[in-house]
């Protein structure tokens, strides 16, 4: 039996996550020993059959919907990676506007040639087996998930705050430095990558499923941070989350 055939596909995204994977160096070589890459736009272009589909990017056109459904039907395992694919990512900011307005703004005279639908994460369109959140993906987590997928072992994105990992890394809290950080409401799993490197958390991994919104507002008020400002910051990566909320409500009724 040969290695599992893995194909990388991209939808609406910057392809930065693929670039991360291409930049892996030695780890990439080790991963490649365990898999056969059959489609990978950033490093090659070979089409064919595949067992594992790794999806980057969010679903933003009806053509995307058809394409992702086809991929899902063909793949035994589907991995969504990067913020765009797992939470809608920055593409979700489009959902703040009327679709026609935003289409005209971006494409101007050519707008009529570009149909568009509200941005969705992959799991909001087809079932996803594994998710690697983050913008870009945190490579150690990506490798961990790939190993799980190849071994048929489930992986669950942590549902606690980035603060947990940040504290274990003994970083000086950004709030102690007078900065606003989305760590307290953002899903962990990145080993507080940004804060380790002196940057605040932008919430790229998506919000924890049960965020303490009142508590969070309290904190911001205490630090004299305007709520709208933080809401904008939270919406940067989390706008498409609204589709999850609707599904949850629907689930409760059943």
């Amino acid at each position: 039996m040969g290695n599992p055939r893995v194909a990388f596909f991209d939808f609406s995204s910057c392809e930065g996550c693929q670039l991360q994977v291409a930049n892996m160096g030695e780890d990439l070589l080790a991963v490649l020993g365990a898999i056969d890459v059959v489609e990978f736009r950033e490093v090659m272009s070979e089409k064919g059959e595949y067992d594992v589909a790794v999806i980057e990017g969010s679903i933003t056109t009806s053509h995307d919907v058809e394409r992702i459904k086809k991929i899902r039907a063909k793949a035994k395992v589907l991995i969504a990676y990067g913020s765009c694919a797992t939470t809608g990512g920055v593409n979700g900011m489009k959902n703040n506007f009327e679709l026609d307005d935003i289409r005209n703004y971006v494409y101007q005279k050519a707008a009529k040639y570009f149909e568009t639908i509200p941005t969705r994460a992959v799991h909001q369109v087809v079932p996803v087996d594994y998710s690697v959140n983050g913008c870009p993906v945190y490579l150690p987590e990506f490798v961990k998930v790939l190993k799980c997928a190849l071994a048929g072992i489930p992986y669950k994105v942590p549902d606690h705050a980035v603060c947990v990992e940040c504290k274990l890394n003994e970083n000086e809290c950004m709030y102690d430095k007078g900065l606003t950080c989305l760590g307290p409401v953002t899903k962990a799993g990145c080993n507080s990558w940004c804060v380790n490197n002196n940057n605040v958390c932008y919430g790229c991994r998506g919000m924890v499923t049960n965020p303490a919104e009142n508590g969070a507002k309290d904190i911001l008020a205490k630090h004299d941070i305007p709520i709208e400002w933080v809401e904008n910051k939270m919406n940067m990566y989390n706008k498409a989350r609204e589709f999850d909320k609707k599904e949850e409500d629907h689930g409760k009724k059943c």
């Binding site: 190993k147 799980c148 071994a151 048929g152 072992i153 489930p154 992986y155 669950k156």
Partner: protein, 278 residues
């Protein structure tokens, strides 16, 4: 060997070979497991083991077989999370990691000579089966034996053949109900509490053993108290998240109790006053 030999680690795992595996329902799968050298697990009814699939992790699972079964033991595992999903992919010949048995099981010594009312709801019948088979193997040591089980729907019924065989015995009373009917279902329909009220029992001589989902405890215990069964004669088994099984990791704590060591079996009297318990 030093005083702190790593081999003394409480996390040492033995290889357990799966002898037989069988899908019982859409969610539950049966496993018969043998330890190296056919060593007995040495458990008491109501105790649990930590079972691991290397790479996926480790979970606590109640032992379902009687301690009298020699050379192997039985688990019935509901597919609910990552590790149990990985376990469901395994079959005869595969090997899992086993440590234990752990916890305080059903107080079999105390139960001897008493009338028993054993009530199982859903997958609660899995650990209860360990006690039922133990009691039936030693039938003369116990008074009246009543077994009541309830399931959500007919497809969820576990150990149907065994249940029927228990009911065939002269000195055992069994009854079963489902919450929702299914195709071809001829039996009773309704909540398990309905099976309790018609029973004629001597409350002072009766011990009730209840195992089921959290929601079931509230209503069943109310019914038992109405029957005047004393609080320390109502015995329950609690389900909690566990990681270590040896009273360290903190996940299974109910007030001051560690479910993995002080439980999972408690009397209602012990836990009655504990918020978060039921």
């Amino acid at each position: 060997m030093s005083a702190n030999s790593v081999l003394e680690s409480p996390y040492v795992v033995k290889a357990g070979k799966i002898l037989r595996a069988k899908q019982l329902t859409g969610l539950e799968k049966y496993f018969e497991i043998e330890l190296p050298g056919r060593e007995d697990l040495g458990h008491e009814p109501g105790q649990f083991v930590m079972i691991s699939v290397p790479g996926a992790g480790e979970v606590p699972i109640s032992v379902s077989s009687s301690p009298w079964k020699k050379g192997a033991f039985e688990l019935v595992i509901r597919r609910a999370g990552g590790v149990t999903s990985a376990l469901h992919q395994l079959g005869a010949g595969d090997v899992v990691g086993i440590r234990g048995p752990y916890g305080r099981g059903f107080p079999t010594r105390v139960l001897e000579g008493k009338n028993l009312l054993m009530i199982g709801g859903g997958c609660g019948t899995i650990p209860l089966r360990s006690l039922i088979t133990y009691v039936l193997d030693n039938r003369d040591r116990f008074g009246e034996v009543n077994i009541l089980v309830g399931y959500k729907s007919p497809e969820m019924i576990l150990f149907k053949d065994e249940f029927d065989a228990w009911g065939q015995k002269r000195d055992v009373f069994t009854d079963m109900t489902v919450d929702r009917v299914g195709p071809g279902w001829q039996g009773k329909v309704g909540l398990i509490t309905k099976l309790i009220s018609p029973l004629q029992i001597d409350p002072q001589k009766t011990y009730a053993v209840v195992v089921g989902p959290p929601i079931m405890y509230k209503f069943v215990i109310q019914e038992l108290l109405k029957k005047k069964i004393p609080e320390d004669q109502i015995i329950v088994s609690m389900e909690r998240h566990m990681k270590c099984g040896v009273g360290k990791c903190g996940h299974c704590q109910i007030a001051q109790y560690y479910c993995c060591q002080d439980g999972p079996v408690f009397t209602f009297k012990e836990i009655r006053n504990f918020y978060e318990a039921i």
